[in-house]
């Protein structure tokens, strides 16, 4: 199996069909063992918390209702977020598609004269194919899951660890 097969192309237009793309992963026993272990650990933790609650099914339904409401009124909440984020000193950028989002991010990096960037691992950045785009534009990218730990360190550390504009 070629090494490229382990880095599947995420662009739906370029990616091989799922049943084919999945084969190298399926035939990787270490990866499957790791994923199975991760699932077992997460499920066991979840099971422990569920067992503590007598009304978890109701909580779950309430959570689903909140999510559905947020999705149905996404426009309103996005604008509300922009308003509050701006008031708190943040800048919200709006992009109509993946290409525009990539351009905005590159422009910000150019303004900082950045040749390297540490970025949070997010599904959104994977979906808009941000990393290959930045690499092609000469910006070395480093991905991290550190955001979670930094969030738990509190506001101050969040600011010191991260350039706000790259968040």
């Amino acid at each position: 199996m070629s090494p490229a097969a382990y880095h599947p192309v995420l662009d739906p237009a370029l990616a091989p069909p799922f049943p084919k793309a999945v084969l190298p992963v399926l035939r990787n026993p270490q990866l499957r063992k790791n994923v199975a272990h991760a699932i077992d650990v997460i499920q066991a933790k979840r099971g422990k918390l569920v067992a503590e609650k007598t009304d978890w099914q109701e909580l779950r339904a309430a959570g689903a209702a909140i999510r559905d409401h947020a999705l149905e009124n996404l426009g309103f909440y996005l604008e509300q977020f922009e308003e509050r984020c701006t008031a708190a000193g943040g800048v919200v950028h709006w992009a109509s598609d993946a290409a525009e989002a990539r351009q905005i991010i590159l422009k910000l990096l150019r303004e900082e004269n950045a040749s390297e960037v540490i970025k949070i691992k997010t599904m959104t950045s994977a979906e808009i194919q941000l990393n290959p785009f930045l690499e092609a534009a000469g910006v070395r990218t480093y991905e991290t899951d550190l955001r979670r730990s930094s969030c738990s360190l509190g506001k101050l550390s969040l600011r010191t660890l991260w350039c706000r504009r790259c968040m």
Binding site: F18, P19, V22, L26, R32, Q43
Partner: protein, 250 residues
């Protein structure tokens, strides 16, 4: 009480013993059964693979056949989930207001077998006898779409002679997923292999469920591995009595 039995294409073509067991069980409970020989399939396979026109025709047929029926009983969570979750969208798309209203009126009278027994007939002890070690597999559609909850256990707990063995990771899919098992055979088989480990670890004689589709997937693997375990639809266990055991065991 009078019910109409929608047996589903799957049970009809592959598991006729399940259909016979449902009839035996319901008749023993004093239920009169109607059967429309014109019935075919709920259309899930068509809807899930993009054959909208074919799904529409099955959905329309279902409403046409059962609109006068007091209660429809279906021994397959998957097909009930199709009717409950997907039909509303199909009828919406069709844009025929009369049909949509007919369906909306019919829907509350459509029951999955365990729902029918526990909720409608209000019976948990169906007088069954099944002297075997059994593990129960909770199908995705029963668990996540219909929210069957503890209904299957309420029924199983009253089966005389039966020893239940809890299945680990009960909420995990067996990997079948209808046409998924054809289109993504490798992933489907990988999921099956994981599921089968838990199922075999129970050491049960039988693995039961309320969906023969999962049981076909699991049973196929058991058969090929020469496993000492068999699959059986819960209806067949519930229909089984001392004097009239489940088919194949007599």
């Amino acid at each position: 009480m009078r019910v109409s039995l929608f047996i589903t294409c799957y049970n009809d073509t592959l598991f006729p013993e399940t259909g016979r067991a449902v009839v035996k069980l319901l008749e023993r409970l004093g239920v009169e059964i109607d059967f429309h020989p014109q019935q075919t399939c709920c259309g899930q396979m068509h809807a899930n693979t993009g054959f909208r026109a074919e799904a529409f025709s099955q959905a329309k047929r279902f409403v046409r056949l059962y609109q006068e029926t007091e209660t429809v009983v279906i021994p397959s969570s998957s097909c009930v989930a199709m009717i409950r979750d997907q039909y509303p969208g199909l009828f919406e798309e069709l844009g025929n207001e009369d049909l949509r209203k007919q369906f909306a009126a019919l829907l509350p009278r459509v029951y999955e077998l365990s729902e029918f027994l526990v909720d409608r007939l209000k019976v948990e002890d169906v007088g069954a006898y099944f002297p075997h070690r059994v593990t129960y597999h909770a199908s995705c559609h029963g668990l996540r779409a219909l929210h069957l909850g503890d209904r299957p256990w309420r029924l199983m707990d009253k089966v005389r002679g039966m020893e239940q063995v809890a299945l680990a990771n009960l909420d995990r899919c067996c990997g079948f997923g209808g046409t998924f098992s054809v289109k993504n055979a490798e992933v489907s088989s990988a999921m099956l292999a994981v599921k089968l480990q838990d199922v075999m670890a129970t050491g049960a004689e039988f693995c039961t469920a309320l969906d023969n589709s999962c049981l076909m997937h699991l049973g196929g693997a058991m058969h090929r591995q020469y496993a000492g375990m068999k699959t059986i639809h819960l209806a067949e266990i519930l229909a089984s009595t001392e004097s009239s055991p489940a088919e194949g065991l007599a």
